[in-house]
Symmetry: C2
Amino acid sequence: MIIDCHGHYTTAPDELETYRDGQIADLELDPMHQSLKGKLGISDDQIRGSLEGAQLKMQAERGTDLTIFSPRASWMGHHVGNASTSSTWTEHCNDLIYRITQLYPDRFVGVAQLPQTPGIAPDNCIGELERCVNELGFIGCNLNPDPSGGYWTDPPLGDRYWYPFFERMCELDVPAMIHVSAACNPCFHTTGSHYLGADTTAFMQMLTSDLLRDFPTIKFIIPHGGGAVPYHWGRFRGLVQAMDKPPLEELVLGNVFFDTCVYHQPGIALLLDVIPAANVLFASELLGAVRGVDPNTGHNFDDTRRYIDASSRATDAEKHLIFSENAKRVYSRMQL
Amino acid sequence: MIIDCHGHYTTAPDELETYRDGQIADLELDPMHQSLKGKLGISDDQIRGSLEGAQLKMQAERGTDLTIFSPRASWMGHHVGNASTSSTWTEHCNDLIYRITQLYPDRFVGVAQLPQTPGIAPDNCIGELERCVNELGFIGCNLNPDPSGGYWTDPPLGDRYWYPFFERMCELDVPAMIHVSAACNPCFHTTGSHYLGADTTAFMQMLTSDLLRDFPTIKFIIPHGGGAVPYHWGRFRGLVQAMDKPPLEELVLGNVFFDTCVYHQPGIALLLDVIPAANVLFASELLGAVRGVDPNTGHNFDDTRRYIDASSRATDAEKHLIFSENAKRVYSRMQL
């Protein structure tokens, strides 16, 4: 069995965008407009149609079985509007994921978007997390360490600002994938620099705070192969040593996991060389950031299974961990 | 001959910090305080003393010959105060580097700090660049893509805001190392996440703009092994392909170079595997971000020469490029 722990619903029917456009139009008239949830008007057939030529087709082509699936990350747009904007938008996005998990229970399991808003403590995301986990059967969430969209105006993850949310994550036993949304700061390219920078930044926030000590059972997945982290593993080892902290491996590997969204063979080689197999989760981010075919290989850049299959860095037993067992362990609410 | 292209004067006598503290005290009384240059009162003997047990000792121990040397990056502090603060501070920092190059002409060659200030176009750095190059014999500069210190409030490098400065760089034929300073945003750790994120961000700004097309002779060094770039080379290749741009190699390798400040063997292996040897410049960032000894190897994390010496990824001819010839080519004003 092969579990892809990082897939987004990037192919939703146009009604979803229309709904969002409506929110934005309301906000243009009144930035404090209080959003009402309303309806999307998307049929089950539309949902099927949006997946069958895309994610489901690629699962079949690539021989992956189950995708841990969440709303489109770049559209979370936590910086748009106010808390009510984020709340109704998030509920709709999560409801769609739930419907997908009901239509294709063997193919998709849900992970929640959170109704974050810059400047508003993530306590207000606990209700939606509980709804998604307890009522919709979701097994994790995507946590945005920078809801401002590239201005980094909220406190770092080690700040107590985040602690009530982390407490509830631990009580529910759900992991969070660290995942920013689209950058509204023109300095950043969403998938090229903002995602990778945020991955590295969040990891460093964990190293410089007591977060992992205060929540010994918390689990985070750092996507996109951990941003710059595995490539600079020696730097991070040296930095925590200089802070008189325990060795990096001891400090983080009980809580922090890395996905395999690294789109070339040498990158995967480095990842598997540096990070123990027990901390690597298979993922492709499909349909995601990079959709083209690599002319050097003739295969999609994001067909990450090929890189792992081809790698001599991991044994078959380690690949089994990476492809399925680690995901079952980290997303412990997953029922297969 | 071994040239280290990335060294900072992190061991300056206390008088430098005292001067800076005086600036900050003046700014606390009046944020618009107009700084007068004044004097540092540092003797040549003090300078010698600050280097002989540190950078010079390490050059000797590690068998490197010449360091391309610039003021302490984390102390550039472009976000502190106003343009006059940055101007006088920068002149003093550069003057110290000049004195070092006069005291040890065979050991150090100068690279300029720039008097950047958030919100002020870098046109106002041209004068100091000219002074450093034409009067002090400097061969390059460190350019901060985020003078705000982690809020990213200035335009991206592809914006015409930066163009007059880039024009002068090209006319003078000096490269810029992309280098942020200390983060004042608590979300970022200066050497752990801000540096690496900025490296990746600046690279992506080059890909999404016309900068390299508009300045075909410009040269940038992305330090810290290019941030996350080589590890995600496939991602960047796919992203530029999706933008209908020329292949990544064609797009950037005439203008963009990467240093070797990657503090473990697997990271250096990845760098040398992915980036052509002609685009890699030896560097150790000493005395820099990570000063400790790696208990796994018994050697300093930042003793990057060892990783390159030990690497089977590069031939001897390629290592010769990396250790000296590339630096001579990129820093073309260097006289040896």
